[in-house]
């Protein structure tokens, strides 16, 4: 057995092959990202502050442990992982974040919020980013999530409750996805799960007033 001090004087070559170096023709690719920029530069745009104010949560506290991304059920379908959304928001890169599909793919399952060691409410950040993307008219590549929300809330505004058949008709017209899920309709009708008549709440007038005032509040 070698003496302990000799451990630090071992001149033998390492058995491991050298790690790839960043450089021409030898770019280190982040394996999970489709939209993550290669070079990140901090931009003081006030974007981070705006997201933190709206979500009420400290995005800048993120230290990239990737716990949110590892547990995200939608991760494989995202162009930016939740931890990458946090990073880009921290760096103030508004364009990259607000045009990403990820913010619309988030299912609000709250797994990330529950598990974040820094107690960042990541699901609330996603909410704030969706709201900002609509407000700032960001170029959203896939309109389906946005149009679903619009159709759903339009139905609530009109009837006080969701009227599924009406909501789906508006959604299909807005997205052009006319044939999606039509195979489900006969079964849903037979099972009494779809009705062609809305079930209106008696409080629909108050609900419309709530919508109007909430929109005013949002502009403040």
């Amino acid at each position: 057995m070698r003496a302990v001090e000799n451990l630090y004087q071992d001149e033998r070559p390492s058995p491991l092959t050298p790690l790839p170096q960043a450089g021409e023709g030898n770019q280190i690719q982040n394996p999970s990202s489709k939209n993550m920029p290669n070079e990140l530069t901090w931009q003081n745009t006030g974007f981070l502050e705006e997201v933190q104010r709206r979500s009420g949560t400290p995005v800048a506290a993120c230290f990239q442990c990737h716990k949110c991304s590892s547990g995200c059920p939608i991760g494989p379908d995202m162009d930016l992982l939740p931890s990458q959304v946090m990073r880009l928001t921290h760096l103030g890169l508004e364009g990259e974040v607000l045009t990403s599909q990820s913010i619309w793919m988030c299912a609000s399952c709250e797994a990330c919020t529950t598990r974040c060691p820094m107690e960042i409410d990541i699901a609330a950040v996603m909410d704030a980013l969706r709201i900002l993307a609509v407000e700032r008219k960001a170029d959203v590549p896939d309109q389906r999530g946005k149009q679903f929300n619009r159709s759903f809330l339009g139905s609530v505004r009109n009837h006080g409750r969701v009227f599924e058949a009406g909501m789906m008709a508006f959604y299909k017209l807005r997205t052009g996805e006319l044939m999606a899920d039509v195979d489900k309709v006969p079964k849903m009708l037979a099972k009494g799960k779809l009705s062609f008549l809305p079930k209106r709440s008696g409080s629909v007038k108050e609900v419309r007033e709530i919508f109007r005032r909430a929109e005013e509040e949002d502009k403040k």
Binding site: S108, C109, D121, R144, G145, V156, K187, S201, A214
Partner: protein, 306 residues
């Protein structure tokens, strides 16, 4: 035990069987439900994705109605439950939000109306001992995967309901029916929820994964406590089978439907005919209780006979 009942939009349409079985089970157990008059939508995910004031004002409008009734709220929909609880949480902890909501709804609200999920009421208020006494038809040998999904247990500081990573209340309720809750790892994985409409391919993938895991854990059926979980696992199971053709047909019941059966209530009162994958195979008299084979064909039954 008296509650102000908030059914929510899904329970009027795609999940009418959840509504019917919740009412039937509560009636059978002497839990009195009075529907909140003229209740309105809680706003669900589209509201909190669109407008922060609206996301809290819509639930608060209903909580104000419940406050006038002087009863705690009982709801069966996991999304309504999470939105009502979140509204209470924000009104209690954020003075600015409380003032904003008062301006939007036109009325003050203090965030003090209690909100409970039907599962919480059955397990923690009514109590498992009393449930056990009421069981008329023990579901002995039935292997069940209890699927909690996301919003019943997350985020824990808002819903404060059960362990967020390993909830057990539904397992305990299933055990009280003398059925066997299987151990499986996807209890709180997400089914894709409202992506069901905008990204149905994602939902089929996630739903298929869940059903496959329940089957690997040797469950014969899945029980849920959320209308979107049920829709995504049951109605969309056929879509999941397009990805994985070997995925066995697996009934997905609401916990209240399973409890109703154990309480001896007739199937019609529980809306069992609304399931896309019928549950008949689990209960047919000539079928084995352990593998849904014909009794004579089941290896464990024939072993038992020899």
């Amino acid at each position: 035990m008296k509650y102000a009942y908030f059914p929510g939009c899904s329970l009027e349409s795609t999940a009418w069987d959840f509504d019917r079985s919740t009412r039937a089970v509560c009636r059978a157990l002497g839990i009195e439900l009075e529907e909140i008059p003229n209740w309105t939508c809680c706003g669900s995910t589209p509201a909190h994705s669109t407008n922060g004031a609206l996301a809290v004002a819509l639930p608060v409008f209903n909580l104000q109605k419940a406050q006038a009734m002087g009863r705690p709220v009982l709801t069966a929909c996991a999304s309504c439950y999470a939105r009502l609880r979140t509204a209470n949480h924000e009104v209690r902890n954020e003075p600015a939000q409380r003032e904003r909501v008062q301006r939007v709804t036109g009325k003050p609200y203090d965030g003090q109306v209690e909100v409970h999920h039907v599962l919480d009421v059955l397990v923690n208020h009514f109590g498992l001992d009393k449930v056990r006494q009421k069981i008329q038809r023990p579901l002995s040998g039935l292997r069940v995967a209890c699927y909690y999904g996301c919003l019943l247990s997350r985020p824990p500081e808002v819903v404060a309901f059960d362990n967020p990573e390993n909830p057990t209340c539904m397992d305990n309720l299933v055990a009280a029916m003398d059925a066997e809750p299987v151990v499986w790892p996807y209890k709180t994985e997400c089914c894709g929820a409202s992506l069901s409409i905008s990204n149905s391919d994602v939902v089929s993938r996630l739903g298929g994964k869940l059903v496959a895991m329940a089957r690997q854990a040797e469950a014969q059926c899945i029980v849920v406590a959320c209308p979107l979980c049920q829709l995504n696992l049951d109605l969309r199971q056929a879509d999941a089978r397009k990805i994985d053709a070997a995925l066995p047909e697996t009934p997905v019941l609401y916990i209240t439907q399973l409890l109703g059966l154990a309480l001896g209530l007739p199937a019609a009162e529980l809306g069992l005919d609304a399931l896309s994958v019928p549950a008949d195979s689990l209960f047919a008299a000539d079928k084995c209780c352990c593998c849904s084979e014909k009794t004579a064909a089941c290896p464990s039954t024939s072993r038992g006979a020899s």
